[in-house]
């Protein structure tokens, strides 16, 4: 066995002989990934219901119908409450938002449908600012149900008859209106009045408008994951993110370990041996890559064995991404050793740098929630390529071609780290 192989073997033996540290290194990412994966829904496709409070101050047939429609929606977990209680529930984080239907809503809203200058009733939405993404969901579904129930009321002869007659009088009396437009509007209102009269004489609503204005389409949702018979598994993202994070932490230990070797005189003794600088640094990179790849494999082994994560894409691509990230980790450790001065100070700075890399890489929260400028920045962050690449090879089920870009970018960053390390490495103590 050559000197380089002896150094690599020694590093690997030393790393894996510290059983307690190894157990922590493996347990921490698995436990955290299990937590984050469960929070992301795990392997289940069931969407959790959004808790929402409704304050029906109107208590009209229209408002009651809206509340009933919300209750029947699988997206909402609706609880009715008075306004003070609803406000308290939002403040305490027990509901994400509260919808306040004002007094007179059922009377005013149908009028506003036909009369653009009529006063529009205002539905209040109280929302938790920490859950602002919920606001869009509530507004969207509320618009759907309000339009349906209000338009139903507008076409109902009992509720909307007077409204249509009143609006017709207003249009007929309005001055300054183009005569052709006035004629068209009056014809429209007359036709609605005839529909209402027919509805009233029939006794049961049959006309299309009597059911209210419904959404003119329906949706069919299909998950686009790796294979038809497999659904998205939240653990796949969590294990990619936590694996990247903790393997990078291992890279820090490699770098700090080299600084400690320097302090202990071991590095001096290695340098006294007939080994080139390339052999010495190369052995460190090689051993770091072997250790990182082994750790990542063990973490994904647990993900596959216990959390249902599968490599639905290219297995070769997955292995290439793991190896490229292992090399990246190893050169990151070398960079730390090259730029660091004392092990203690270096460790703190390196942990901070790693956490930034991990956050920007989308390991904790998806990058789509970042501001646009930050999303643009993350394209240059190698951890994002690692996470995206691992997801592509697992639940997205993409082929080998999808692995090349992440692998190439990580290899490029590894080369950069290695060059900077060689440039700044302090050879002479």
């Amino acid at each position: 066995m050559g000197p380089v192989a002896a150094l690599v073997r020694t590093d690997v033996i030393l790393y894996f002989s510290n059983r307690r540290a190894l157990a922590v290194t493996l347990a921490a990412p698995i436990l955290l990934a299990a937590f984050f994966g469960a929070a992301l829904g795990g392997p289940s496709t069931k969407v959790s219901r959004v808790p929402v409070a409704v304050v029906d101050r109107d208590a009209s047939p229209v408002s009651k119908a809206i509340v009933a429609a919300m209750r029947s929606d699988a997206s909402f977990d609706v609880r009715e409450a008075a306004e003070p209680e609803a406000t308290r529930l939002v403040r305490e984080g027990k509901v994400r938002a509260a919808v306040v239907v004002p007094v007179g809503f059922g009377e005013e809203a149908p009028k506003a449908v036909f009369n653009p200058v009529a006063r529009k009733p205002e539905i209040g939405i109280l929302y938790d600012p920490s859950q602002s993404m919920t606001l869009a969901l509530v507004k969207g579904l509320l618009a759907q149900y309000v339009m349906k129930e209000v338009s139903r009321a507008a076409f109902d002869p009992k509720v909307g008859g007077d409204t249509v007659a009143k609006v017709r009088r207003d249009v007929a009396a309005r001055t300054g209106m183009d005569s052709a437009r006035r004629a068209d509007l009056l014809a429209l209102l007359d036709s609605i009045a005839r529909v209402q009269a027919r509805e009233a004489s029939a006794g049961t609503p049959k006309a299309p408008g009597s059911a209210g204005l419904a959404m003119p389409f329906e949706t069919r949702e299909t998950q686009v994951a790796g294979s038809r018979d497999r659904r998205y598994n939240g653990y796949a993202h969590a294990f990619a993110g936590m694996g990247v994070q903790f393997v990078l932490f291992m890279g820090i230990e490699l770098g700090v370990g080299l600084l400690l070797m320097r302090r202990m005189g071991l590095w001096k003794r290695l340098r006294a041996a007939p080994l080139s600088r390339a052999a010495l640094l190369g052995s460190r990179v090689a051993s770091g890559t072997v250790i990182a790849a082994a750790l990542f494999s063990a973490i994904y082994g647990a993900a596959i064995a216990f959390f249902g994560v599968r490599v639905d894409g290219s297995a070769i691509g997955f292995a290439a991404i793991v190896l490229a990230f292992a090399l990246l980790t190893s050169t990151f450790g070398l960079l730390i050793a090259a730029l660091g001065r004392t092990p203690e100070a270096t460790r703190g700075l390196a942990v901070l740098a790693t956490l930034l890399l991990v956050m920007l890489g989308g390991a904790w929260v998806p990058t789509f929630i970042f501001p646009e400028w930050l999303q643009a920045v993350t394209v240059f962050v190698p951890t994002r390529w690692a996470v995206d690449g691992l997801e592509a090879m697992t639940w997205r089920g993409l082929g080998l071609e999808a692995a090349w870009a992440p692998v190439a970018s990580m290899l490029a960053v590894s080369a950069l780290f290695a060059l900077v390390s060689v440039r700044f490495f302090a050879w002479e103590e």
């Binding site: 006294a272 007939p274 103590e429």
Partner: protein, 273 residues
Amino acid sequence: MLSARELWKSYDGKVAVGGISLDIGAGEIVGLLGPNGAGKSTTVSMLCGLISPDRGGVTIAGEPIGSDGSVLKRRIGLVTQEIALHENLGAARNLELFGELYGVTGRLLGERVAAALELVGLADRARSHPSTFSGGMKRRLNIACALVHDPDVVLLDEPTVGVDPQSRNAIFDNLETLRSRGKALLYTTHYMEEAERLCDRIVIIDRGRTIASGTQDELRRAVPGSAARVELEGAVDAELLALLAARGLTVRARSGASIEDVFLHLTGRELRD
């Protein structure tokens, strides 16, 4: 065996070593003495190829030491001042690693490891981790790591720091054994009695320059007006000495100063830390 000629090394314009020359022959122990900051460690680093001199050069058996990967480095063993061991590898495994780094493999490696452990008295602890060793045992293993590839030249940078007298004595025995096997040894130390016991020749350096060199007797003679050195049995004061001699008690007198006297005379008594 090892020859250094006019070694110069500066850091940030400050001269650390300024023209030091020395020779170490086979079967010889040369002491390199000097106060803190004298340039001992820099000199040792240049001798074993860890750092390149700004001027001058080092040869082994007439061959100049080259770059980092020079095969001539296989003929040098370095015992660092620090205990440079992998604490969580067994003693034999540490030795195997250093043997492999110097190109020793296979059965020869096993034999060399066993011989090195035997030499430093750790044969029965081959599988034990250094983390379980006493300070003296670690020091001995530290020396063994520099010997496992059977070098012709051994550079020892303060190898006895912090060890008890027994371990120190064992180390001295090891070094004398190496000398008897024809190895060339360079020994740096702060302890004058060590130099006195071990070294055939001594080089004293200060502020990066050689200020004296020679055998112990040559150095002693170089100190003008040095007092006679006496070894007494019993309590000591000036009157008592006269009385002892007058009363026929044994008083052994040796001519010349101790090496420590020489050292302090040449380098002064002020602290250098």
